[in-house]
């Protein structure tokens, strides 16, 4: 009986186990709050010759944005730690994201741009997906660490030094955000182009 259940279960082919889906959607909420409030904070003292339109920035004013930013950071970090720990412990990261060969990345990029990339089995990532997913996890680690370096440049001054000092760490934090936003644009566009991938992240199969 129990064997049958297990067999029947695997026949449905769970692409994303429940922990992946829960972490994914919590992360989606957290990262959107962090980016929106981060843009509002950026506007108080811009690093470049532009500011973010108020309509897409969160918090209304600097104090409000900081409250959002330092509230959602707990959600982002706690959820991120759970996700990365489970990803490593269950072997999912190794299975799904490794190895990444440059040659495959090149050929798959070419295939993707000419719309010849197959998506028959969405449980297996192509080389471009592997690179993007591994890359965005790395960016998330950098954005959190550089954020802590800016937040606590006295108490965690060793970390701030690691990021090239307070002023440089602000640029690192900004570009890590920009990379994540770049990823999100591609990620959301492709999820809409291949709707079954979006369904898999909701229902699991």
């Amino acid at each position: 009986m129990s064997v049958q259940t297990v067999a029947g279960h695997s026949a449905e082919k769970i692409i994303h186990p429940a922990w992946v889906r829960i972490c994914h959607w919590i992360n989606a909420v957290a990262i959107l709050i962090m980016i929106g409030s981060g843009w509002q904070i950026y506007n108080a003292s811009p690093l470049f010759d532009f500011t973010f339109p108020r309509e897409i920035a969160l918090g209304g004013w600097l104090g409000g944005a900081i409250r959002w930013h330092f509230a959602a950071m707990w959600l982002l970090v706690v959820n991120g730690l759970v996700y990365v720990t489970l990803g490593v412990v269950t072997g999912r990261f190794r299975r799904k994201l490794l190895p990444i060969y440059p040659r495959d990345v090149l050929s798959d990029t070419k295939a993707a741009l000419t719309f010849k990339l197959a998506h028959d089995d969405i449980s297996k990532y192509n080389a471009v997906q592997k690179l993007l997913y591994a890359g965005v996890i790395l960016c998330a680690v950098i954005v959190v660490l550089s954020g802590i370096a800016i937040w606590k440049p006295v108490q965690f001054q060793e970390l701030t030094t690691l990021f090239g000092g307070y002023d440089f760490a602000r640029y690192v934090h900004f570009f890590a955000m920009a990379a994540i936003v770049g990823f999100l644009v591609i990620h959301i566009a492709l999820a809409l182009l291949v709707p079954k991938s979006l369904r898999a992240m909701v229902t699991g199969n």
Partner: protein
Amino acid sequence: MKKPKIIPGVDQRLLVKDAIKVMPDPTRRLFLRGGASVGALMLLTGCDLSDSETAENILSKISEFNDGAQAAIFSRTKLAPVYPESAITKPFPFNAYYSEEDAPAVDGATWKLEVAGLVENKKPWTLDELNALPQVSQITRHICVEGWSAIGSWQGVQLSEFLKRIGADTRAKYVWFKCAEGYTNTIDMPTAMHPQTQMTLKFANKTLPQAYGFPMKVRMPTKLGYKNPKYVVAMEVTNTDKGGYWENQGYNWFGGS
């Protein structure tokens, strides 16, 4: 720099648009004729939208939680990085919620620092008396909540040394500062006792310029700029949190860096 009274993350125009829909006709006509703003909406409903909102309350609670987290992270002995003279930012920026012309002009000859609260000796201090106390110096980074930073050179009396001299009860929770223009600020006792927390009387070894807080500012390189009061006229050692100018408007209370 006044805090707009809106719910964080809510578009003011959409809010007003939604409110218009539920108004009875005569009210709606009056409201639309009157400019249809959030300000008008608040007058009409008699409620401060930011205070009544659940999101605002939750964010306040988390901000308080972050005060505790920062107090736990704070080290009584860890020093803020110090820099060589060549690193000093020139010119060091003036910064306040008003423009430089409106900065208070305090007469150093008649100025006295009032001391109140849980202290043995409440005698006010003149500038000469403070200048006669042992002086310390630091070249540290001033970090503004807005994100920019500047390196300055400050000289003055260690606050911990001063608190000892006036017989302050350092088991008290807070030190509260009042400034000439009405600015106020409360800090935690561990920060007040930090070796780099300084009653600053000089900038770059010269009498503190008006722009930087003459006759006295309190310099804390372990806290953000808005926790470093200028033009200080009074201090109180207390167990009551009396808040502060920016903290009362929503900036984080601890403001540590």
